[in-house]
């Protein structure tokens, strides 16, 4: 979230799309309910089905799963055509005025620079025209036209690109009635005023598509056009799927990153040395110019005294990935299926339930020599060798089940969607021999290192030199201190990442969390001051990275002169009488003050900070146009899901041109499988249900796997309420109960009636509440950037049993 949970109470309009917040993030409705009662806020829900969130919405609009870009493209077009964007914000704080180079082009669904052989774009073609700079070290600057009249300025390219997303075409693609589209667009565009703000809340319904990342981009672009970023009640709110997903990405439980969102090194010439790596990964402009300080401090945290300038701070001990290979979920299971991966640790993961095409993934696990499963119960993963239809005698995989503690049996932090790291104190003693995850990994690595003792092999030196001196027993606080980092000269804990250095004199395991443990006795994740400072900002409650900032890009809440755009939405502003920078007395008084920690150097004169309000961007402005960073182009373009009931109405390009198709033979056609299916979660269950389907109170709340379908589809197929039905896709078939409901309606898609259905994906064969897994039906294909599987839109057929 660019803002936070408590900030939702400051909104004037919440657009919930790709999320069922009431159901899966109930606490969000505590704050949205406040916003509605106290501010008269509107809640809009866009979803293929009428959800529990929709039941509380002011406006509900149905939308066919997999058509977010068409829907949001239509909104961008509506905003631009009706001049509903906030011009001052757009000109000053976004890259709308930047002039795009002549290399950029877009024709029939394709941007310039595509190579069909590699299925990749050459993003250089999309570059801006740059101002010539005398000093090669100076921050780069794009040519701009603040009048927005240049035909190749971002604003006009944007306008042209989305002019194709007219109401008729969008309605035909999304299945949303035209008047509903207009109602949503009109209602949400109301927030494009200085004294109004709107938030877009999304979750897995947005990301789990072949165009998932571009779906999110489309939301961010609408927010920029309406001036909803950096203000209270605004922002793009990624509602994370479990309590610590934010933490897991922050700390890089992802194959392509190092902690703090730094690209992981590759085994190629670009990254051959630390110097080369830093040169490649450090941009010339924006706050990321500090990357060397973060990387070197991280290496010092990891390798301690063994990391020296001479050995490049141990850079060569980091594993390097093959840049041609992908190590995401689908790729890993394909590799297991092909027998190249021989061992697997699963830690709170349950692939036979949660993996796409999970029949194949369970089968892939049969090729493993060993499997370690760390969990609270014997999950479908731990029991995969005795799953229905498997022959235990023929499976040679050795399976270990390590009992883990539940969250209340241990202490430690989780980082929530609001980037807030909160400490939770242990409430009860662990059951049986169960251990906290931290203890398990601690003991595991200690043992691994023992096995490598005495090795002189270069590849083993990273293992031997890793700092693992947390004391015994290991505590979360010891690890948190390492993450926070120290000044090695004074031995003191770091108070801010602003003080990190690239010469090996500071440490920090994850720069974005630097400052959360500023003193030996002060762990800010434990802070519990319930006082609201103002505008939904509770600065004394736990710690939000970076530097306890609650609203990112908050420079945008004030105009270029530093005056708040509106009294109601003010959070930081320029006070000419505030004490100035003590380090630069010559600059005189004046600083930004307010309710939140500023997102920029608060002593900079307002005009200066206004030049780069998006400090993480190389060019300092909000990206309506993404010249880098997105594999499939600078603007989100609608492509159909891999399995779709219609031909793409916007171009002749059916599928996102950069996605990898793993199983071309497993694609269902609309003749065979005419129904659009999606998967979803229930309040009553958590993830793959290992925790909840084993807990009688929760199991009884939703004991059965079912499929939701409309009364119309049920009548067409002769299906009766509560009977068993068979649901099939090109990957498999499952038998589940039929839940016939008014909450689904057939949609008018491309001039004909298309039925849409949905299923929860929580079920599996283990636990006390059992059911067949929805993911038997989902395809092995993922997003063009992140590779997240396309769980949310695929084709099925259904028949009564």
């Amino acid at each position: 979230m660019t803002n936070g949970w408590t900030d939702l109470k400051e909104t004037d309009c919440a657009l919930i799309i790709g999320s069922n917040a009431a159901e899966n993030h109930p606490i969000s409705f505590k704050w949205l309910t406040k916003a509605r009662d106290e501010r008269g806020a509107k809640i809009i829900v866009v979803d293929p089905r009428f959800t529990r969130s929709a039941s509380k919405a002011d406006v509900y609009a149905p939308m066919r799963s997999g058509t977010d870009i068409a829907f949001m493209g239509g909104m961008i077009n509506y905003i631009l055509q009706n001049n509903l964007y906030w011009k001052d914000y757009v000109v000053n704080y976004t890259n709308a005025a930047f002039i795009v180079g002549e290399g950029y082009d877009f024709k029939d669904g394709m941007f310039s620079g595509y190579d069909p052989k590699t299925r990749k774009y050459d993003a250089k073609q999309w570059d801006f025209e740059m101002e010539p700079q005398a000093d090669p070290k100076a921050a780069p600057k794009a040519k701009t036209d603040p009048t927005l009249s240049h035909p190749r300025c971002v604003f006009n390219l944007l306008k042209k690109h989305y002019s194709r997303y007219d109401l008729d075409t969008v309605s035909r693609v999304c299945g949303t009635p035209k008047e509903k589209l207009e109602e949503v667009y009109r209602t949400y565009a109301e927030t494009g005023k200085p004294d109004k703000s709107g938030v877009i809340m999304y979750a897995m319904g947005t990301t789990q598509h072949t165009v998932g990342s571009q779906n999110v981009r489309s939301y961010a672009m609408v927010q920029l056009l309406l001036g909803n970023i950096g203000v209270p009640g605004g922002g793009v709110a990624a509602l994370r799927g479990e309590s610590n997903v934010q933490g897991s990405t922050d700390y890089a439980l992802l194959f392509h990153l190092l902690p703090g969102y730094i690209n992981a090194p590759n085994a190629n010439a670009d990254h051959a040395t630390l110097e080369a790596y830093l040169k490649k990964e450090t941009p010339k402009g924006g706050f990321k110019t500090n990357t060397p300080k973060w990387v070197v401090s991280m290496l010092k945290a990891w390798f301690g005294d063994a990391a020296t300038k001479e050995n490049e701070f141990g850079y060569h001990w980091l594993p390097k990935k093959d840049p041609k290979k992908n190590y995401s979920w689908i790729a890993l299971f394909e590799a297991m299926y092909n027998g190249t991966i021989k061992g697997l640790w699963t830690w709170g993961e349950n692939p036979p339930v949660s993996g796409p095409n999970c029949t194949k993934e369970a089968k892939a696990m049969e090729n493993l020599d060993w499997l370690v499963c760390v969990d609270l119960f014997e999950s479908e993963t731990a029991a995969f060798w005795k799953r229905p239809g498997a022959d235990p005698a023929s499976i040679k995989t050795e399976v270990f089940l390590l009992p883990a503690c539940s969250s209340i049996e241990k202490s430690g932090t989780v980082s929530n969607s609001a980037r807030m790291t909160q400490y939770r104190w242990q409430a009860v003693q662990p059951m049986g021999e169960s251990k906290p995850d931290l203890d398990i990994i601690y003991e595991l690595f200690a043992k691994i290192r023992e096995l490598y003792k005495g090795s002189k092999a270069a590849k083993d030196q990273g293992i031997l030199n890793l700092t693992w001196d947390y004391g015994h027993p290991i505590t979360p606080e010891a690890v948190a201190k390492e993450i926070n980092g120290r000044d090695l000269t004074t031995g003191k804990l770091m108070t801010s990442f602003a003080n990190l250095k690239d010469d090996g004199t500071t440490t920090s395991g994850c720069w974005i969390y630097c400052g959360m443990f500023p003193d030996e006795n002060k762990y800010r994740a434990m802070d519990r001051d319930p006082a609201e400072k103002a505008k939904g900002i509770f600065p004394g409650w736990a710690y939000s990275w970076p530097v306890n900032r609650r609203i990112l890009y908050n420079r945008c809440s004030a105009d270029p002169a530093g005056k708040p755009w509106s009294e109601d939405k003010k959070i930081v502003w320029w006070d000419p009488n505030a004490p100035g920078d003590p380090a630069k007395p010559e600059d005189g008084p004046g600083a930004f003050v307010g309710y939140d920690v500023t997102d920029f150097n608060k002593f900079l004169k307002p005009e200066k900070s206004a030049a780069a309000p998006f400090i993480m961007q190389v060019l300092g402005k909000g990206g309506l146009y993404a010249n880098t960073g997105m594999n499939e182009g600078p603007f989100p373009e609608h492509y159909e899901p891999w399995e779709s009931p219609m031909k793409n109405a916007f171009s002749s390009v059916q599928l996102n041109p950069v996605v990898k198709v793993w199983e071309p033979d497993k694609q269902g056609s609309p003749d065979q499988f005419p129904i659009v299916c999606t998967t979803f979660r229930l309040s009553e269950h958590y993830q793959t249900g290992t925790l909840t389907r084993n807990q009688p109170w929760l199991a009884e709340l939703q004991p059965y796997m079912f499929i939701e379908l409309s009364e119309e589809l049920a009548a067409e197929k002769g299906i009766k309420q509560g009977q068993k039905v068979k649901v099939s896709s090109a990957r498999g078939e499952i038998e589940v109960y039929a839940m016939i409901t008014k909450r689904w309606k057939p949609m008018e898609i491309d001039g004909r009636t298309v039925h849409c259905v949905g299923m929860p994906w929580h079920y599996g064969f283990a636990a006390i509440a059992k059911g067949e897994s929805a993911n038997v039906l989902t395809p092995h294909i993922g997003d063009g950037n992140t590779m997240i599987p396309e769980y949310k839109a695929f084709l099925v057929d259904i028949k009564g049993v």
Binding site: K56, S683, A699, E700
Partner: protein, 281 residues
């Protein structure tokens, strides 16, 4: 001062956290037949809705009633109404209990003391809201112990300065607990606030059965499984204020249960069938 629950259905999103919190605090088992440790056990059968609990039971003191309705604009409404004992001011169950197992707490809850309950079932028969249910506990071959059970408004929590578990866990503030006057004022204010969007918005429980747990409903009470009008039958009053005191003098306390049985089986009218939402227009 009397305290009450106030349930604002316009804020309820049906998360059912209250159902689990209730079970946890009151230590009620899940409604599962059979032995969970063994192979054979079953949940209540699939009924085609999210509302898997359809009736109160000795394991179920509270549940969220759910109702899908066709809306005038061609869309759908999905109503949620959290139900539990209504803690009536004129509590029929209390009036008919022959052994005084049901009493009123100083905070205003209708409290059923399982220790005193003899399992006669009159409270079950006479509750206008179908709340109390009998629990059959096998004590031996052919020997069953019957006890009535229902929500006690977390009297143990309330008497120790806490609010009921359901109210505590509710994320949106749809379930509130406080002084009755204060809750009623909130409800009245809310009705006015909601009227423009929900013309059917109303308070339920202000006067019904002398006053019950307060509800803010956005639609007809029948959709939430609440009877449109709930009153104490005259026969119950007759029993409470005349037949029972006279009977007690005549036959003595010990035989009162039998007398009550005769009375409730022959004198009481057939109970009003609670509305089924389908039938409500």
């Amino acid at each position: 001062m009397a305290k009450t629950l106030y349930i604002d259905t316009s804020k309820c999103m049906g998360c059912r956290g209250c159902e689990s919190a209730c079970k946890q605090w009151n230590d009620l088992p899940a409604n599962i037949k059979g032995d969970l440790k063994g192979e054979k056990f079953e949940f209540l059968p699939f009924n085609g809705t999210y509302q898997t609990k359809t009736a109160f039971a000795h394991q179920t003191y509270t549940m969220v009633k759910m109702q899908e309705l066709a809306a005038d604009d061609g869309g759908v409404k999905w109503l949620f109404g959290k139900r539990q004992c209504m803690h009536c001011a004129e509590a029929t169950c209390m009036m008919v209990c022959p052994v005084d197992a049901i009493s009123r707490t100083p905070e205003g809850a209708v409290y059923l003391d399982k220790e005193k309950c003899v399992g006669c079932g009159y409270c079950v028969q006479n509750c206008p809201f179908n709340v109390p249910q009998l629990d059959y506990n096998q004590k031996g071959i052919g020997i069953w112990e019957k006890k009535s059970s229902k929500c006690n408004l977390c009297a143990d929590r309330v008497q120790n300065g806490l609010i009921p578990a359901c109210a505590k866990t509710c994320p949106t503030g749809a379930i509130k607990f406080g002084d009755r006057e204060e809750m009623l004022a909130l409800a009245k204010e809310r009705v006015e606030q909601l009227k423009p969007k929900f013309p059917g918005a109303r308070i339920y429980g202000e006067k019904e059965v002398g006053g019950t747990v307060l509800y803010l409903l956005t639609e007809h009470p029948g959709y939430y499984g609440l009877p449109e009008s709930a009153v104490v039958p005259w026969q119950v009053r007759f029993w409470k204020y005349f037949a029972r005191p006279v009977g007690e003098l005549a036959v003595g306390g010990g035989l009162l249960v039998i007398l009550a049985g005769l009375f409730f089986n022959y004198v009481m009218p057939a109970k009003e069938t609670p509305h089924h939402a389908e039938g409500v227009k």
